[in-house]
């Protein structure tokens, strides 16, 4: 059992509050990603879980045990750092066995653990090298090896891939996912890269200004973001947030959006509870539409919009099409070679995927 409970945890430096009552709870084998821009408190939270920062309020429990005042070595955790933090004067082998040496394990036990970890990470041939003789990816593996030999209850990763180049980052991401599948250990992983969060996590906590904005499975965070901030942060290109006015006729919910130089467009058939529909009828709302929920209209059903295409950006598998809707720039992901820049285009929208937000609080309306 290796659960992690973060219970109303606060962190303040003097009067500056960097974490405000953060509560997150994950189960054994979960892969929690703390996602947010720099300065949102995610690394601070990770350091607090590790015991490298003190806790100003609340409790952190690992496997049911409160660890607030335990030193890092007594928390049964292992950590992988952004800069890898390999001991520069030690060989790879010495790096990996340093912790075991301190805990007083015998040479035989150490050799066995090092061998197992090295085999798992395919770094056996590097064991006698110094960190300076390794490439970025190899250093990353060694850092993970150092964590694995502890057999901890909890793995902590602090932006482990951000020092790698793009290609290697994707490879190592797969590697980490494979490692998680094989070892089944609970992992807390900090990143500002939403793709890493989507691909790796079983649970994502999107953070901003020391507050968890949304904690859920990655797909739920993507499909039903809790607020405009989360909607914009997760997904690339970001979710389009279009100002509009809600019109309700019976069960039919429609968002009216302005189109420059044309009569307003109507997006009909938005899923919404009767209660919310009643509350927001005739009011301003923000309409959240993912780029891939646009399609070229083929005369079928669904909401239809006639827009003037501004820019066309082919990416290969599909083309990003930029136009204006409701006074903001909107991006649609369409199949290649369907529309031309400067021309009119008729687009349909998958309204079942639309998310509405309150225009003032910017939180999701259900």
């Amino acid at each position: 059992m290796s659960t992690l409970e973060i219970d109303r945890v606060r962190k303040a430096y003097g009067s500056l509050e960097v974490l405000k009552e953060v509560s997150i709870s994950i189960g054994t084998g979960d892969f929690l990603v703390l996602l947010g821009p720099s300065g949102c408190g995610k690394s601070t939270l990770l350091n607090m879980i590790a015991g490298l920062e003190t806790i100003s309020g609340g409790d952190i429990r690992i496997a049911g045990r409160v660890v607030n005042h335990l030193s890092p070595k007594d928390r049964d955790i292992a950590m992988v750092f952004q800069s890898y933090a390999l001991y520069p004067t030690m060989t790879v082998r010495q790096n990996i066995e340093f912790g075991m040496k301190i805990r007083g394990l015998s040479q035989a036990e150490r050799d066995k653990s090092v061998k197992t970890a090295a085999d798992l990470l395919q770094i056996t041939h590097l064991l006698d090298r110094k960190p300076s003789q390794l490439s970025g990816g190899q250093r990353q593996r060694v850092a993970m090896g150092r964590a694995i030999v502890r057999q901890p209850k909890l793995f902590l990763f602090d932006e482990p891939l951000s020092n790698l180049d793009a290609k290697l980052r994707v490879d190592m991401r797969t590697e980490i996912k494979r490692l998680h599948q094989r070892l089944g250990t609970t992992i807390v992983y900090v990143t500002h890269d939403q793709i890493e969060a989507m691909t790796l996590a079983t649970r994502v906590a999107v953070m901003k200004d020391g507050v968890v904005q949304h904690l859920d499975e990655p797909q739920s965070v993507y499909d039903r973001p809790a607020n405009v901030y989360v909607a914009r942060f997760v997904g690339s290109p970001a979710m389009n947030i279009v100002p509009g006015v809600l019109e309700v006729q019976g069960d039919n919910v429609t968002a009216k959006v302005d189109i420059a130089g044309k009569p307003p467009g109507r997006i009909t058939g938005i899923p919404l509870s009767a209660e919310a529909a009643r509350k927001y009828a005739g009011k301003k709302v923000l309409v959240g539409i993912r780029p891939e929920n646009f399609a070229v209209a083929n005369g079928g059903s669904g909401a239809m919009l006639a827009v003037t295409v501004d820019v066309v950006e082919p990416t290969g598998p599909d083309t990003l099409v930029v136009f204006h809707l409701g006074g903001v720039e909107v991006t649609a992901r369409l199949p290649p070679k369907q529309v031309d820049a400067g021309r009119e285009a008729a687009l349909s929208i998958d309204t079942s995927k639309i998310v509405l937000f309150d225009a003032d609080t910017e939180t999701r309306i259900d």
Partner: protein, 291 residues
């Protein structure tokens, strides 16, 4: 083509001028050393005969022998030997202690920061700018109270406390460039304060240890003022003894012995520079260029 030739000719001429200039400056700089070396190898009569810069006609090591073991310092005619030993006895512990304390200070000031750490560092820096003369009397009073006045251990205390400012500065600036994650990783691995210091931090700091040792060795070995103020008689360091040899003579001034004595006093620092000098420059510039 002709233009290119004249271009390279011009460059060569410029280079030649630079070398000539460097050579001239080096000669000016080396001249005193040359005079010292040749004078120390000449018999006294030859020196008084008027030959000063020229090569010795008869080479003799008598002056060196005299300076080392026979020259009179005050009333004792023991040569520099016992004072050379005094200096060694003083320098070695002083260098080790001040470098060690500086290393721990630098480690704490960068990796175990406490509220006000920068203020404390500022105060320590202030010590670097304190002139020797300003601390003489308080230092003498303190040594008197501690019962260490006029002894080698007392002089060690003075040099260690005066040197800590410099060594702390060296180590602090070096450790600042080591990533904090290194300490954090070691903490997660279960290492404590001293374990991290010994196993992780110190092995990476060889260049700055060498810098600190060279700096401290040179400063302490060459110091005269503290030596003459806080020791007396048989416990004096070599610089004080050298001064006594040169300044206290009866009869003809023994230039060859004076020169040999000065050379003997200078050899250890020269030796340290030759052996460890390449680390010196490397260590001084370490961390300055990060990339």
């Amino acid at each position: 083509m002709a233009e290119a030739l004249s271009q390279s000719g011009k460059a060569r001429l410029g280079r030649l001028a630079i070398y000539a200039c460097l050579l001239a400056v080096a000669l000016v700089y080396l001249m005193p050393l040359w005079v010292m070396v040749v004078t120390s190898l000449k018999p006294l009569d030859e020196i008084y005969g008027g030959s000063f810069i020229g090569l010795p006609q008869t080479v003799t090591l008598d002056a060196w022998r005299a300076a080392w073991s026979q020259a009179c310092i005050g009333t004792e005619c023991t040569g520099l030997k016992p004072y050379f030993v005094n200096s060694l006895l003083m320098v070695i512990p002083s260098v080790i202690l001040s470098t060690g304390i500086g290393a721990i200070n630098g480690y704490i000031l960068t990796k175990w920061k406490f509220p006000g750490a920068n203020f404390v560092f500022g105060l320590l820096l202030f010590g670097c700018f304190l002139p020797y003369q300003a601390v003489l009397i308080p230092m003498a009073r303190t040594l008197g109270i501690l019962g260490l006045a006029g002894s080698i251990p007392g002089l060690i205390c003075v040099h260690v406390s005066y040197g800590i400012c410099f060594t702390t500065l060296f180590f602090r600036n070096y450790f600042v460039s080591l990533p904090d994650e290194l300490t954090k990783a070691a903490m997660v691995d279960g290492a404590g304060f001293f374990r991290i210091f010994w196993s992780v931090i110190l092995p990476t700091s060889i260049p700055i240890i060498v810098v600190s040792c060279i700096w401290q060795f040179t400063q302490i070995w060459n110091d005269f003022l503290f030596g003459v103020s806080f020791t007396s008689g048989a416990s004096s360091p070599i610089t004080v003894a050298l001064n006594n040899i040169v300044n206290v003579t009866t009869g003809r001034k023994q230039y060859n012995v004076d020169m040999a004595a000065a050379m003997i006093a200078a050899i250890p620092t020269l030796f340290v520079y030759v052996v460890a000098g390449r680390y010196f420059v490397r260590g001084l510039t370490a961390g300055a260029v990060k990339g």
